[in-house]
Point group: C2
Chain length 319, copies 2
């Protein structure tokens, strides 16, 4: 396969690129390096089957030319900043919705037929059914991020129906482990590196969340592509368990060998649009034989190890 | 109330404008006249409480200035061309998704708090539950039009949650009656005016569809605004019945006094993305006391009368 991977220098993108190359595929990576890191592609760039194009998805001319010759598109590039969405609403519209439209149009112009897309469990808004299945009651959106990902899902579905494409939509929980660069583990480790005696938690720490190791996520995506014949296939991806933010805070502190005093901002959610309970039903992807290899605790601990060993990401990144 | 109505010169917009003025409200109408007609605002423009701004929703500067001073926004402007969406996918993105984003941003910049939005039953894709309730299983999109309206719904919901706005989302079936300018009744009347001896039907004529008189739709919107205190309220709007395209063809021919031979393109749908069965559950809006005044047959007949008496729309419009 010749894969075209958007967001190739990002957290999920670079892990997927490495796996695809390991499997012997040809990969064209596309990234604007707004949040991606060249360091994440260090191994990939030594592989002669890898080509990197530095470009923005809003640059349709560059995109159209870079995508030519690929046969499967993994569209992972996105503004993934859920928490600060309200500070810059145009970002989700442009980098998620319009960028996805541009990818679909570039595919259509070049006769590409298959797209795999990183959506999010956030499209369920505040779910009413747990674990939440793919056909949960029609949700209302509670974040601009979720709304923009829903818009992308809609576009992909309509292109599949209207232009005869094949679409794989993956609704992720938050991912963890190597190359993870935002979210609560990132924030907690940063805070404990600076001051191991205290840790401030947004919300009351009782928020229940599910996570998944990025390597398990990549395996799930490739399993779906190998084992589904449906024209439009939608899968939840997540662990078969959830934890509380307080559990995670404890695992992180223990892994770092410290014992901070916890303080709380209070309330049942960390910020406007935060979801106090995320737990996805993954029966559909498990029916294809996929199982996560890592528990949430193991994923959190590996994330801590990686962040502690790669503190350069804190200076390279905002927050 | 000072209402700001986008798409004011359109089918639904102009009917809403007339009703709001009748009720004594102040109205600013905004329209780019891409599909709207000055003739639809003939009565409104004689009312001193009406102001018309000719502008495009992609012109954010004009929009920001026109919206100032209003307190409720009725956002009805849209590319409503479901059938030919695949010929120009950018139209739904720009005129629906991005236009709605611009309206929400203009509201935020000017401190406006309430939006009523014309969505569509098309967001249910190919529904699996009939009549289809607002909380039907999470659907997949089958048309670019439905996908773009879903994107708008998501944006509005996220703005309601994130910026404390109030949002009313109305998922319409197809509307009929005075000032109706596209859809199967429009096409059938046009064809029978040209040649009353034969009528070509897209699909097998067995498609089951629900309709609503535009006046009943306007009443439902105003009922919802008067009787709901929810921050985000979503309502299906439609008749409590459906008909087959063949029934409708019969009513139209009878009303026009002709007896055409029917021919069919065949298949269970009229075009790619056409939905063979649309029937919405309207319990939620009926619980507020609203009932449709017109049956589908009456709505079809009034539409025929209006089209026969206003054949200028056929030369003013494509198709």
């Amino acid at each position: 396969m010749h894969a075209f991977v958007t967001g190739a220098a990002g957290f999920v993108g670079s892990n997927l690129v490495d796996r695809l190359l390991e499997l012997g595929h040809t990969v064209t990576g596309y990234d604007n390096f707004s949040t991606g890191h060249a360091a994440f592609l260090e191994s990939a760039t030594t592989n002669e089957k890898f080509r990197l194009v530095t470009g923005d998805l809003l640059d349709t001319e560059k995109l159209n030319s870079a995508i030519r010759g690929a046969d499967v598109v993994f569209h992972l590039a996105a503004n993934a900043d859920v928490r600060f969405g309200l500070e810059h609403p145009r970002k989700d519209l442009e980098q998620n919705t319009i960028a996805t439209f541009n990818v679909l149009e570039a595919m259509r112009a070049n006769g590409l037929g298959t797209i795999a897309f990183s959506s999010t469990g956030s499209v369920y808004g505040e779910a009413t059914v747990f674990p939440t299945p793919e056909d949960a009651p029609f949700p209302s959106q509670t974040s601009l991020y979720g709304a923009s990902k829903l818009a992308c899902e809609g576009l992909i579905s309509a292109y599949v129906e209207g232009y005869g494409m094949r679409g794989y939509i993956f609704r992720f929980v938050s991912l963890l482990a190597e190359r993870y660069t935002h979210g609560h583990v990132y924030d907690f480790v940063k805070s404990l590196l600076a001051d191991p005696s205290t840790l401030h938690v947004l919300g009351d720490g009782q928020q229940r969340k599910s996570y998944l190791h990025v390597s398990d996520c990549v395996s799930a995506i490739l399993t779906a592509l190998d084992h589904t014949e449906k024209r439009l296939a939608i899968f939840n991806l997540g662990a078969e368990e959830y934890c509380k933010i307080n559990d995670s805070a404890g695992w992180i502190a223990a892994r770092m060998g410290c014992n901070p005093r916890l303080t709380y901002s209070g309330g049942d959610r960390g910020w406007v649009g935060d979801n106090p309970f995320i737990f996805l039903d993954t029966k559909r992807i498990r029916a294809l034989g996929w199982r996560p290899e890592f528990s949430i605790q193991e994923s959190v601990e590996r994330t801590v190890d990686w962040l502690v060993g790669n503190q350069w990401v804190y200076s390279a990144h905002r927050g």
